[in-house]
Amino acid sequence: MSDFSLLMTHGVFHLFAALITLCSVLVVMSKHPVKSAVFLVVDLFLLAGLYATLDSHFVAAIQVLVYAGAIVVLFLFVIMLLNLQPEQLRGLKFSAVEAGTLVISLVGFLITVVATFKGDQTGLGDGSLDPVAIEAAGGNTYVVAMKLLTNYIWPFELASVLILMAIVAAVVIAKKDKKKTSAPIS
């Protein structure tokens, strides 16, 4: 790999990383829930881009299809349904458990950063998943599909049970009974 291409790969990663971090901060800190949702979409789209640079094309596609295209739409719908107003951000008041969790997460984060930049790295390779070999085997989507449907049969079938339970639960919780329904606008 040439110097130029190495520079580009690193540049793309750092650009995406910076944008993702920025968007994540905005998701968490925006006062208006709709703003948070829109930044979440941008965030998820950028993460899909990062997956694409990792040659995980299928994951990138479903990231956009399911996360950005479906889950956040649901969030937006609920925000509009409840007509939520901007929230007053309260001061930094935490209970002991919350503060403890936060400190632990920050310490974990710092350890990871220090460990990375002290050179004490995980020892994992840097991309031994050869794209050319994957291409020869039938492409990323095909390889993922074969893996899912041969090695992961039980999780696959259990996923359908999970979705079934989610469907039933959501309908039970959210659906009003007929007689209580006030005339809907639509």
Binding site: V34, F45, V64, N140, T141, S186
Partner: protein, 360 residues
């Protein structure tokens, strides 16, 4: 990956050229379609339609009407309704335009060109996930609609946008399901490979999987919020739906997004079900050798695809002036209670039939 520097340069320049051509084509669609959408109903109703505007004394059937409309639209005053969410109000047209352009670049507009010692595909975006890319990006188009309606501070807009987005997401499932049999039959997600597999006339998708085509056709009309499913902008009840409060160039942006996605879905329908750039009973790829010119096959293939897509664009207008509008509950129950079960049955039957033939 695996390309020399020269090949990379050629591919990069080719990408830019292809992109410029396709983008130029796409930008022509809304003006021409606006004209067609006024002339064709006029023809169907034995009226004349717009026929006056021309350049000097050449009227060319009033084709310049769209140019005049465009210029007028751009120079109109922009009215931002009071109480609108300003940032989102200005952002919504962007969300509506870019997905349409992104998906338009994934269609194979012709056979591969073998030139300059490399192969140049005539689709600009060609990724491993094939047409799932189109679904993924087109699912982002919901945001333009939702945010536009919500940010306008108008209850008709909000209701229209909620209706439109609920409709779009509902029909995304039948749209997705209708193409699963195609993947089962041709064994690939790559649109170009699907077209190549349809080299024989009787192997076109519409003959091998007619139910899929029916589902796709209905879902295609519903996805673009066109008649008979245009409840989102039902003129009689909701003023104009989610873009009621939009004026001037922003209004044009919504039109651009809508017409480009109509065109892309037309191209997708022709590609998947009608052989794409293949000419019936004739091998387009051989044209290069026959005539001795590189690119003849690409040109003929491209024209063929455009003709097929034009048919579907015509169908959009034809249906609009033929079938009355559905009610919203009919629309939703058609999508959820008929098309999804039919789509599932279609997948199962196709799989069992193919498996019975191949693995018996």
């Amino acid at each position: 990956m695996g390309l020399t520097a020269d090949e990379f340069t050629i591919q990069f320049i080719a990408t830019l050229v292809k992109f410029a051509i396709v983008a130029g084509l796409l930008l022509q669609i809304p003006p021409v379609m606006v004209w067609v959408e006024r002339r064709v109903p006029a023809m169907m109703q034995r009226r004349k339609g717009p026929n006056r505007v021309g350049i000097f004394k050449w009227r060319i059937y009033g084709l310049m009407q769209s140019l005049a409309d465009t210029i007028k639209l751009i120079f109109k005053e922009e009215v931002v309704p009071e109480g609108a969410q300003k940032a989102f109000y200005h952002l919504a047209p962007v969300f509506s335009v870019f997905p349409a352009f992104l998906i338009a670049m994934a269609i194979p507009y012709g056979p591969d060109i073998h030139a300059f010692g490399t192969t140049i595909p005539l689709s600009i975006i060609r990724v491993d996930v094939g047409f799932l890319f189109i679904f993924a990006v087109s699912s982002l188009a919901v945001y333009g609609v939702t945010i536009a309606g919500w940010a306008s501070n108008n209850k008709y807009s909000l209701l229209g946008s909620l209706r439109a987005s609920a409709q779009m997401i509902s029909y995304e499932i039948p749209l997705g399901m209708s193409l699963i049999p195609i993947v089962l039959i041709y064994g690939t997600l790559d649109l170009n490979k699907i077209v190549e597999a349809q080299s024989h006339f009787w192997k076109w998708g519409v003959f091998l999987s007619p139910v899929s085509f029916l589902l796709f056709l209905i879902a295609m009309f519903a996805e673009t919020n066109r008649a008979p499913f245009d409840l989102a902008e039902a003129e009689g009840e909701l003023v104009a739906g989610f873009h009621t409060e939009y004026t001037s160039a922003k209004f044009a942006a919504f039109f651009l997004g809508e017409y480009v996605s109509m065109f892309v879905l037309s191209c997708l329908a022709s590609t998947v079900f009608f052989g794409g750039w293949q000419v019936p009973f004739f091998s387009v790829q051989k044209l290069d050798d026959l005539t001795g010119f590189i690119g003849v096959s690409a040109l003929i293939g491209h024209v063929t695809l455009m003709l097929k897509a034009t048919f579907f664009m015509w169908l959009y207008i034809w249906v609009r002036w033929t079938i009355p509008r559905f009610r919203y509950d009919q629309l939703m129950s058609l999508g959820w209670k008929y098309m999804i079960p039919l789509g599932l049955v279609n997948v199962v039957v196709t799989a069992v039939v193919i498996a019975a033939f191949r693995f018996s």
